[in-house]
Amino acid sequence: MNYVQIICNVITNPDSTYPIAISPYKFDISQFGEKERNSLDFTIRNISDADLEVKLVDVPSNMFKITLPKKIKVGKSEKGKIVINDSQLKNEFDKSITIELSDQTKTRFTIPVKRTIRIPGANQTSTTPMPGDKH
């Protein structure tokens, strides 16, 4: 028998995370309308009493380009950015990324990444008669 095991700590209040606070706590890169939306800026605040390094430990392959701050000093905030790869721009998805901190317990956070696409009129079919159509 082969098995895989997943571990997570569920949190109910995004404002009570430690040693960092991620804003927004979930990445919604949805697109409503014609204007293409392919990225999201986020902020990570170090609310601990030690400098922290941040590294990406899990990301779906070929979906995103993620820019993370390498180091966040005590009490400071740093910006990051997630950009959807061109090949995924027409897709809707619910994925996630996992980051790991350099604190003693190597704390990890998994952030959901969601994309919904709603373009008014995009699914409407043409009513123009085509040659060969029967009426």
């Binding site: 997943i6 700590n9 569920v10 949190i11």
Partner: protein, 67 residues
């Protein structure tokens, strides 16, 4: 007849060995544990576990059981 005995033994040995070497599927999982760390309640999250077919026959996954 005595000369055939070692050959017969060899044949039996090879026959047994061929059974051992018969094509067999095998699965290899390099990573079997993943720690998501802190996750917001009701969040949809995902992780990919890679399964490698490392045997000598095709690998069929017939059942996956959660829990």
């Amino acid at each position: 007849m005595k000369r055939l005995t070692p050959l017969a033994l060899l044949a039996v040995f090879l026959f047994a060995l061929s059974g051992q070497l018969a094509a067999q599927p095998k699965i290899t999982l390099p990573d079997v544990v993943f720690d998501f760390g802190y996750v917001m309640q009701n969040a949809k999250i995902s992780h990919t576990f890679w399964l490698y077919s490392t045997g000598t026959d095709s690998l069929k996954i017939e059942k996956v059981t959660p829990g």
